[in-house]
Amino acid sequence: MTASVVRLGLFDPPNDVFAAVMFHYATLPRIIVALVAGASLGLAGAVMQSVLRNPLASPTTLGVASGAQFALALAALAGPAAAFLPREAWSFLGALAAAGLVYVVGKRHQFDPARLALGGMAISLFLSAAAAALVLFNEQRLAFLFLWGSGHLAQSDWTSATVIASILAAALAAMLMSSRAIGLLAVGDQIAGSVGLRAETARILILLVAVALTACVVSRIGVVGFVGLAIPAIVRLCRPRSVVATLLASAGLGALALFTADALAQLLSTMSGRLVPAGALTALFGAPVLFLLLARTSLASRPNPATRSFAGTFADAGKSLPVGLAAALVLVAAAALFVGRTGAGWEILDPAADGALFLARLPRVLGALLAGGAIALSGLLVQKIVGNELASPELLGISNGAAAAIVFAALAFGVLSRGALLLCGFAGASLATLLVLWFARRHRDQIAAVLLAGIALGVFLDSIVRIALANASMQATALLTWMSGSTVLVSLPETLALGLLLAVAVAIVLGFCRALTLLDLGAELSRALGLRGRVAQTLGLVLAALLASAATMVIGPLSFVGLIAPHLARLVRARRLVEQTLATVLIGAIVMTLSDWIGRVGLTPWQVPGGLVAGLLGSLGFILLIGRKPAGEPGQRRWSPRLRRAKATGPDRSLPHLGHHAIRKQGHRT
């Protein structure tokens, strides 16, 4: 690239100088797009974090970006039928729907930071599972989604640059004009209200602008993770003096970040001869930066202990609960083994008549069942050890660690035995676990920081896997099948080994249940009672990592069962640790077996991977769980007499209340 090319190509390139034309229609727009898109995302993230008073808010963590992406995929599938609206409009509608849903969930919990981010993540997990399902059935028409979905910035004209730049300019002007309102909202609703700002309206209007900005970027270049989350976090660490400074610095740094990422991506693409999308690179670099910054600073949000008041005692489910769940599991497993579906209709398998089919199904059903139990137990362990019920191997990046290690081993060494892959997965999961544990220990009170670090780790590993898979030719197909959680590859000896592992793990957990109960009280008090917390934590996490990696081998990294099963167990009133463990394992097994079966028979002749179905069901269930009203608010009392009794027994122990907001509204007898 010479100066003359730049001079010629800058404004009106002469048609006969190819380099100048390239510069004008490809290089220059690409640079501009990187700059304005990065600025847009940084600005959108900064605005969301300010008005929601939530360091975890961002276009990606609130599900806004996946909403836009999913709507775009649907519009692409609909083809001409959706052509009456431009794709920016579809993208905006999708983003708006997702944002609205998250907003409703968040409002019910007074915008508790972790709760809101979790709602957003649940929605984006659900949408990405749904998008994966769409891709599975429409490979031809949507294959571009995978590539484009990770933020590919190649340009061939000025359309994207113009569209994003004009929306950014409008949004920036609007935000700067309302900077005083943003500043008030960032201080708090009461203060804002007391000086005469209608907080709710102002927040919604401001968020609308951020959502539109996100939707515009997604419709043009796809989902670029992490700029919206990490950039404002970095800016905040420098303690900007005013709202205007925060917004401008976020926009500027965002532009710089995406530009750098894209330049690096182009460089890497040229060097390796493979396509490296910039979005993957932002995650690759943004995640560790955020992780390190978080490790060096302390967020000021110390969650108050939950103090919910209600009169009474617990009504424990007792021993009948595990028995009932076991019966349900047997029922589901029998259905999965014997009930199948062909093109003609439903059929009951007779094992005597068709032994081969039975033998083919057996490892698959057993594998799903045991893997579900294993990931559920892993989830319970992680929640006890990290000390928070929002943690799970999937959310803390532990499953991603296993997946990344397995993918890399498969790509680097070619065909490996499943045993060797399991070892690699265990190594990866352990490494991820250690990182999270180290982090959780440093930030004991700051679960928001721990979750954020976990997400960062997960996204980081996921982006590595994406880059690797985008460029791996043949092996990729098999790996993709596995990543989406297909149980087809499981063999009978493997399921037996998994069963043995699960049995040993359950025995260990039950044996150590006193120590685990103590861990629940936090490191300090358990130490004061004579527990060697560090040893107990480390052993527990090793066990959790082993279970998670073994389960990941069978059902892929994103089943969501590890998060949802312990919650469901609490929902059926398994309170004491022994019951909780049994119920969690059984529920995990039930959910996974059911998912695998639904995936097999639901859309015959297609087979949907069980992990994908579990991801869909699990995230959907979790959205509903999160959306429930917190305890003690009027909304819950009118539900039913049964719930009134449940109030006496401890209402809604499904989720911990992390914020102090939830406490304010309750009649707290002191």
Binding site: P305, A306, T307, R308, S309, F310, A311, G312, T313, F314, G511, F512, R514, A515, T517, L518, D520, L521, G522, E524, L525, R527, A528, L529, G530, L531, R532, R570, R575, T649, G650, R653, P656, R669, T670
Partner: protein, 276 residues
Amino acid sequence: MAFAPILDARVPVASAAAGAASFQLKNAGYAVAGTRILAPLDLAIPAGRFVALIGHNGSGKSTLLSLLARQLVPSEGEIAFAGKSLVSYGQRDFARRIGWLPQQPPAAANMTVAEVAKLGRYPWRGAFMRHGEDDRRAVAEALTKVGLAGMSERAMTSLSGGERQRAWLAMLLAQQPACLLLDEPTAALDMKHQLEVLKLLQRLRGEHELTIVMAIHDIGMAIRFCDHLVALKAGRPIFAGSPEALAKPDVLSGIYDLPIGTVRPSEAGPTVVYPL
């Protein structure tokens, strides 16, 4: 006699009367990243007494308690309990002698009162040993002592602040330690519950020959209930002695850098401390 097993672990009462120390700090100090929080200090905490740690915010009360409870490790010097260095105790061995409660105990949202009290048996039975008759008796007795026997199946979250504090005290009693370390046990309570908890502590100290070390902000309460007071100022001890010696305007004014007056409305009644 449920509390029999640990009598031998305790400092004899006679030596307490003679002023024997339970905790002995030798030049022990604490610093974080170069910032001194507690200056190296020599301090003896007499055994069998109800000791109050007082001082302004940030004076190092909580840090001192955490050091005594082994929650923090002194960055210099040494601390001994009953003549043995703190480091030399095993984890559960230590917990059998010293009970500690943080300023904000965890919510224990899904536990009952009895289950919380039972946690106190962990130092004695560990993760595997079966709970026997004397464990059950120790828990029941602890619940009776704090007056929660009738509420043992209640959920922790259903209790009032004072009741919750007493449930945690029941756990400490079931632990049967020789010494209790409490970080502002009355901070979150109203006046009635403050009195209730302090009276309970005073009674328990007498019944079990306990040493109690407690950080507290309310000097009036400290003078009224405690029999030995240690005042810290900017990480250094500036007073140690009896309530009578402390309840003087010039002593108090020196501790808080604030003109303070005291008055005793009646001979039998408590001393009232007020800023001028």
